[in-house]
Structures are given as C-alpha cells and as structure tokens.
C-alpha cells in the first residue's frame, strides 16, 4: 500500500495540472476562467495537505482546554500553511470576480466567447509585412 500522503499529493498536483491543461486548450473564455479556478483549487488543497502532514487537529484551544492539553503528544496540524492559504483564497476569489466582469463585457461582442474572435481585435500585422506580401 503506497503512502497515503504521497498519493494525495500526487492527486492534488494532478488537479492543478488538469487546470493548467484546460487553461491552455479550451477555446471558450469562460471555461478558461473556470480552469484557472480548478488550478487554484489544486493549490489550496496542496496547502491544506501540507498543513495536515503533522496532524489533523487545528491548533486552536477552547477556553479551559489549555491546562488539559498542554501535553505535546497530540498531533497538531501545522498552522502556518493554513493561515497563509486564507490570503490566497481571498485573492483567487477577487481575481475570478474581475475576470468574470470583463468576460461579461466581452460577451456583448461575441456571445460564444471564442478566444479567436477577440484576438482578431488586436491584429499584430505590421504595415511593412502587408506591403511585402503585395510585392
């Protein structure tokens, strides 16, 4: 039986990879934003997993519990990754919101949200090249 921590780590990284592939290959902008969220979920689960490596119990003590549980034998979870990932969750949420606002505005141009139709907005053909083709 493989180490469950390793197995979970691999699955979490796989989630992030699936998100990245979706971000690269989806043509629909909305699905791309969704894939980005899948990637974010992978990152968050990785931090939760890292925090749970040393134990599952969150190091928060109820009132009166302090004297009882001062023994170090309890397997506490690592509080640092837990605290850190809260910030990242908030940032990820706000960026998703911003992305969706812009996508909603862009949907007036192309309701199908195909990436190619927006790339046509900024055609990067230098004027010289156009002249060259005619020659």
């Amino acid at each position: 039986m493989p180490d469950p921590f390793r197995l979970l780590e691999a699955m979490v990284l796989l989630t992030a990879l699936v998100g990245l592939l979706g971000l690269i290959w989806r043509r629909n902008l909305f699905l791309r934003a969704l894939a980005l969220d899948v990637m974010g979920t992978g990152a968050i689960s990785l931090f939760v997993l890292v925090a749970a490596r040393s134990g599952l119990r969150t190091p928060i003590l109820a009132r009166g519990e302090l004297a009882l549980n001062a023994v170090p034998s309890i397997a506490w979870a690592d509080a640092i990754p837990q605290a850190v990932i809260l910030t990242a969750i908030v940032i990820g949420l706000s960026i998703q919101a911003l992305l969706l606002v812009v996508i909603a505005r862009l949907s007036r141009l192309d309701p199908l949200l195909d990436t190619a139709s927006f790339e046509a907005l900024v055609i990067a053909a230098p004027p010289e090249a156009a002249g060259g083709r005619r020659a």
Partner: protein, 524 residues
Amino acid sequence: MADPTTLDAWLIAWLLLPFLAAFSSALLPRLARSLALVCVLTTLAWGVWASLPGRQVLFELIGSLGVQLQLDGVAAPFLLLNALVVLAVLVDSWRQPPPGPFLLLLMVLLGGLNSSFLATDLVSLYVALEVVGITAFLLILQSREPRQLWIALRYLLVGNGVMTLFLIGSGLLYLYTGSFRLQSLQELPPGSTTLAVGLALVMLGLLTKAGVFLSGLWLPQTHAEAPAQVSALLSGVVVAGGICPLLRLALLLPAQQPVFTWVGLASVLLGLVYALGDGDLKRLLAWSTLSQMGFALLNPAAGGLFVLGHGVAKGALFLAAGKVPSRDLSLWGQQPLAPALGLTVLVGALSIAGAPPLLGYYSKATLETLPLTGIPGLPVHLLGWLLPLLMVGTAAVYARICWLPLGAGWQVPAPGGLLLALVLVLVGLLAPLLPGGSPFPSTAALGKGLGVLAAGAAVEALRRGLRRPVTALGFRHRLRLPNLESLIDLLGALAVVGAGLQLLLLRLQPVSTDLLLVEALCLA
C-alpha cells in the same frame, strides 16, 4: 542613527502610507494629487537612504514565522526607479488626470511594488505581486474599449495562472524546508525531484512577472496596447517587481546561476530579433524591454542598477511615444517633432543603447565590469565577447528611432518624459561625483562604448540599404517572424519554460516521459 525599533516603525509606516493615502483619496478626491506626491517623495527618500553604502535593515512582523522584509542595497535601485517613474507619470497627468480612479490605482501600485521589492519570503512576495497584477489590470482597463478589455483579460489570465503555479511551488518548497523564507532555500540538499519542481515553479512565476524569455511573451502586446502612461509604468517599473526577487534568488543560490544566464541570454536574443523586425514604435520598445530584462539576469550583482537605468529611459520613451504623430515606424522621421519631445526620445534611446555621458552607459559598464559567472558550455571569456555583441544589437534597435527631425517651438507635450530624460542626463554627468559612484570612465572604456554605438548605427544603415532589394525579391514575407502572441502560445510557453527550468535544475537527469509528452504537445 535612531534605534532599530523606531526605524522599523518608520519603515512600516512608509510601506502602509500609499494604501492609506489611496483610501483617503477615494474619500477626498481633491487631495489625491498631493497625497500621491507625498507617497512618491517618501519612496524616493527611502531609496536614497538605502542606496548609501552599508545600509541594511531586516525586520520581521509577527515573529519569526511571519512576514519578513529586507531593505538593502538590492532593493535600493528598485525603490529609486519606482519613485522616479511614478513621479514622471504623476507630472504627466498633473494638469488633467485620466478618467476613473487613476491616481488611487497609481498609489496602490506604488505601495504594492515597494512591498514586492522588500519582501524576502515567498508568501509576502505572492501577495505583493498579486496586488501589483490586479492594479496593473485595472490601470489597463482605463478606457473600457473592447481592445483594452481583451488585453487586460489576457494579462490577468496569464498573470494569475502563473502566480497559482508560484503558490504551488512555494507549497512544495515548504514541505522540505518548513519555511517560506528565501534564505531557507540555501540549505536545501540538491537532487530531489520535488525540490526541482518547486523551485522551477517559483522561478517560472517570477520570470513571467518580469517578462523574460518565452514566459514574457504576454509583454509586447500588453505594453503596446495600454494607454501611454500605463505603458510607461508597466515597462518601466512593473516588470521590476519580478526582477528584484529573481536577483535576490540568484544572489542566494550562486550554484543555479547557469540557469539564470541561459534564460537571460535567450531572452536578450529573442527580444532583439523581434525588436529589429517590428514596424510599430511601441511594440519595438516593448520587445526591447523583454531583451533588456534578460541582460539584468546575466549579472545579478549589477542587475539592480541596470534595471534602474533601463526603467527610467523606457519610462521616458513610452511617455513620449504617447505624443508622437504616428506609431508606424515606416513613417518615422517624416514629420518633425517638437524639440522637447524629440530630445526626450533621443536621450532615452541613446541611454538604453549605452551612450557615454548618460545613466545607461554606467549601468551597462557595471554589468560588464563586475565578474561574470561562466556557465557549462560557455566559458567566461566567450561570455565577455558575447556581451558587447548583444549590446551592438541593442544599439541597432535604437538606431531605428534615432533619426528624427526636430521642429521648432517651446511646447512640452510630455513633461513627465522630459523629467526622466533630465534625470538620465544629470545622473549620468554627476555619477563620478556621487558617494560610492563609479569612477570617470577611462579612454578605452569610452572608446568601446562609442564603438558599440557606431556598430549599431552601421547595422541599421545596412538594414535600410537591404530593405529595398529584399522586398523586391519577395523574401520579405518568407522571412517574416512567426507571431507568438496568441493566448495559446503564451500559456503553452509557460508550460515549456516551466518544463525547461525543471530539466535545467535537475541537471539534465532523465525525466519521466509524461513531462516530455506535455512539452511536445504544447509545442505543437
């Protein structure tokens, strides 16, 4: 000198000031300009303070596991650059601020960048860079035209995707080191796959934010399509938000310097080739940013000063580029420019090309004189030959915009750009007199600098001479460079660069086949 706790308190107050000022300016819009000026001037003062020799402050918030910030000689040139570019943009928009919450965003950008220059732990860095990214996104969105909506969306998709990878990388590194500190990376045992993956993802995040090599392919279109003042900010100082932590990383991990050198050289070449081939003024400037950021990675000890010299000049050029009659380079030089505008362009271009009395000359000279690290397969003396050659390429790029007729008149269309150009000239003239500054350049060094310029001009003359026969023979469209800037290229490039970094970091050990498969698919 004040005692350390008072100093820390002042530093924290300074770091928080732009955010408080931005909040107050939302409540009292009439104060916005003066508040922004105060933020800029305090940043300038701290930058000057930190650039004096021997100054280093390391401080921790919430104990040894919390945020760690470091104000030192690495951060100093970046703080000066931040203050100067934001000051120039502020001066440019003093009479008539652009619509929307421009000044508020300017202050948040200044604050976010200051934090990213000082942060030395991965999580603070993540937060600071995301603040910078979101602010830059909102700044691009100024006019809400469909074009800018698309460019901004692209910027945020790439930026946030790569920062998520950065977060995963720092999580993997935490598994090994038990800390988010950059210093803790020094104690790592070499050779572990997880470690190489973690470090590669962190470096990928920073390289993308810095606009280096293929991971920086988002840069040209974004910088070219944004409004002029925002382009100046993006190309002058926002890319530095990624370069500064990269330099810190390179200084901490001298064993990994070959990776930085390879990526830097590749970026210089890519940027030069595209800048020489492009027909649009702002895109030429943006491609040149991509190549200049590569130079900064070649020599981490001199990188900060180099980015300062480049950023001030690029800010001036972009501010001026917003006021020229046409961005089309085939029409360049047909219409005379106002003298103030023309001189700004000329000083900016000459400074980046490395003309002797300007600031850019000194930053380039330091890059060459400080000892370079050789890399496997490319010994130091070969690198010493390659560097002047690449600088000739830079000179050739800027020779394209140096032929410009000056008109008459006293109007100043881009005051901020003129301010930055003055800084370039004055600091260049005073550089030998500053404390800890470089000595007067020797005749041989001056001759070498002028030789590089002359060779660049010769390349440009050759290019102009060849243009007609090449067009007549129909080579032109066969020789056209491939367009690498669709969204799928940008995102695929991230995967390629990430996989390449892992390979380099594992010292070309055999890798699993699925990684190679992903790479091959992305290339296709």
